[in-house]
């Protein structure tokens, strides 16, 4: 799976309360959730994000609540991939389960800047910053998790009998 897009960058400990504030959790409508994505951290996000854009962040991205609405809102907003130094564990598994692509790479998250054009290959774990020409290698997912991702998420994996 390959991705290419412009980078929107945030810092450490981006929590699920700022990704999608609880006051909007009275709906499961994906479009509505996406319209409030990142609102309490960055009011401009929802209006400036373009399909395919890549989100880059620091340590412990997605910490806090287990709300799957957070990766759903990010995915629905058009973000194709999130690269972070580390992910909070529930956000990590939620992203895999719903088919939001994520990559953990400290160096890439440090070096890549807001607005850079980035390409990434999820299977190989290769990240290329087209703006600076730098290449980074992320830890690829174990085969089991790649299987869930290649099915398109946990629901499809269970339906296809890949998980039992």
């Amino acid at each position: 799976m390959k991705f290419a897009g412009k980078v929107i960058k945030y810092k450490d400990n981006v929590d699920t309360d700022v990704i999608i504030p609880a006051r909007y959790l009275n709906t499961i409508d994906k479009k509505e959730l996406a319209s409030h994505c990142m609102e309490d951290l960055d009011k401009t996000f929802a209006s400036r994000v373009k399909p395919g854009d890549i989100m880059v962040a620091g340590w412990n991205f997605g910490c806090g609540s287990s709300r799957e609405h957070a990766p759903i809102a990010i995915k629905e907003s058009g973000i194709s991939l999130v690269i972070a130094k580390s992910f909070a564990r529930i956000f990590y598994r939620n992203s895999i389960n719903i088919g939001l692509a994520i990559l953990e790479c400290e160096e890439a998250a440090d070096r890549i800047q807001e607005g850079d054009e980035v390409e990434a290959d999820l299977t190989k774990g290769i990240i290329v910053d087209k703006t600076t020409g730098e290449t980074f290698t992320a830890e690829p997912f174990p085969p089991f998790i790649q299987e869930i991702i290649s099915c398109g998420g946990l629901i499809e994996a269970v339906k296809q009998g890949k998980i039992q």
Partner: protein, 417 residues
């Protein structure tokens, strides 16, 4: 200890950190925010019924009693699903409580269980010697359908507790102290295992509070050994058979921390991360507050209300402070009424609410305006957590929260007693 529970539930003799396994589930939990997403995902799976109607629980606690029409629709969706699937543990207004206070009270979770819940504070039940962890709605949907979940076996950090807590210091101060020490990702992907002779001096309520906030250090779970107090608690709350697992003497840990409980002081986490901890005694300039919330899955148990009431008895909430007390379950509410605690709160000028998660996550029942500041016995103080993005939450114990309600600024109990 975590690894042994997971191995047993995966049908394996042993597991190693990093290993990916499928484990059988003893309980799958959801609330009125996460369950609607799970119900929608469940519908895509094509299963007729849930794997076990006794092993699924849905609790309408976050935006219930319904705060608006959309919240009401979400609860209705859960209600309909539970009725159709004959789910036995559906808890609606009048019977519900804050989920992580309710499940142990009802005896639905016990030592040796593997529990997943579509709520990050599901790690609470580790206090009873269970492996329990928060997951998302899709995991909940697949868990309800298949009775299994995938896990990456965590490595473990050991917290060796010695000594005893001083008066007016509680489990909340212990866990805030630990999060301040290791940071909000200090236990990322790992199990936080509490052990040592100091454990036995902690009440089950304190242990529930400590395990509850393991997630605030990034932990996969927090877990306590099972002792006489645990067994006494389990026997008093239902008759679900339990299994005791013990950590091996030579168990491997990525880190070991020694904590002398007698050295822990009343501790507060400043905005906007639970790791920004300070002892109350170290606060130089007064921090004035607008609101106090005493409740939540972290600190809404009867023991917590008793502490707050002891401090507030015969006194008045400071002018300009709104104090909201939320017993976490109907039983706690009823017991607090019988013990006269609710009267103490009301006489002091506090509001007493029906059980709800409400203000903890900025849902309802105590939202903060721009620039307002609250002391809360809840678990998170992220930007906008209790309301306006420019409001502030200071996390504290019931004792500190009650004392602060009386003085109008962050205070230690000894300042008002």
């Amino acid at each position: 200890m975590t690894q042994k529970i997971l191995a047993k539930h995966a049908g394996l003799t042993e597991v190693k950190a990093g290993q990916l396994i499928f484990a059988n589930l003893d309980m799958v939990l959801g609330n009125d925010i996460t369950s609607p997403v799970a119900v929608a995902e469940y519908g895509k799976l094509g299963f007729d019924g849930v794997f076990d109607t006794k092993k699924v629980a849905m609790v309408m606690d976050h935006f219930a009693p319904n705060k608006d029409i959309k919240a009401a629709e979400q609860c209705k969706m859960c209600r309909t699903f539970c009725r159709e699937k004959h789910i036995e543990n559906f808890y609606d207004v009048g019977k519900m409580g804050v989920e992580h206070a309710l499940l142990p009270e009802k005896g639905l979770v016990t030592a040796g269980d593997v529990v997943i819940g579509a709520d990050s504070h599901t790690c609470t039940y580790g206090a009873l010697g269970a492996f329990s962890t928060g997951v998302g709605s899709t995991d909940m949907a697949c868990g309800m359908a298949t009775g299994k979940a995938w896990f990456k076996v965590p490595s473990a950090i050991k917290f060796n507790l010695t000594g005893k807590l001083n008066p007016w210091v509680s489990g909340k101060d212990v866990i805030l102290h630990i999060i301040g020490m290791i940071g909000v990702d200090g236990a990322l992907y790992q199990s936080m295992e509490f052990s040592g002779e100091g454990v036995h001096s902690l009440s089950v309520s304190d242990r529930l509070c400590i395990a509850n906030m393991a997630i605030e250090a990034g932990g996969k779970n927090g877990i306590f050994p099972v002792d006489d107090l645990t067994i006494e608690y389990l026997k008093a709350h239902g008759n679900k058979p339990y299994t005791i697992f013990e950590a091996d003497e030579d168990a491997e840990y990525t880190a070991v921390y020694d904590i002398d409980l007698s050295t822990i002081e009343p501790t507060v986490a400043f905005p906007h991360l639970p790791e920004n901890t300070h002892t109350v005694s170290s606060i130089q300039d007064p921090i004035y507050i607008d609101q106090v919330v005493i409740g939540s899955c972290t600190n809404g148990r009867l023991e917590d209300l008793r502490i707050a009431a002891e401090i507030m008895k015969g006194k008045q909430v400071a002018d300009g402070v709104r104090c909201i007390v939320i017993p976490a379950t109907q039983k706690i509410y009823s017991d607090a009424m019988d013990e006269g605690l609710l009267k103490i709160f009301i006489d002091a000028g506090a509001a007493v609410s029906t059980p709800t998660c409400g203000p903890c996550l900025g849902g309802h029942m105590g939202i903060l305006a721009k620039g307002e500041r609250a002391v809360a016995t809840t678990n998170r103080n992220f930007v906008g957590r209790m309301g306006h993005p420019e409001s502030e939450v200071y996390l504290a114990s019931p004792a500190v929260a009650a004392a602060s309600a009386l003085t109008g600024k962050i205070s230690e109990p000894k300042e008002v007693l």
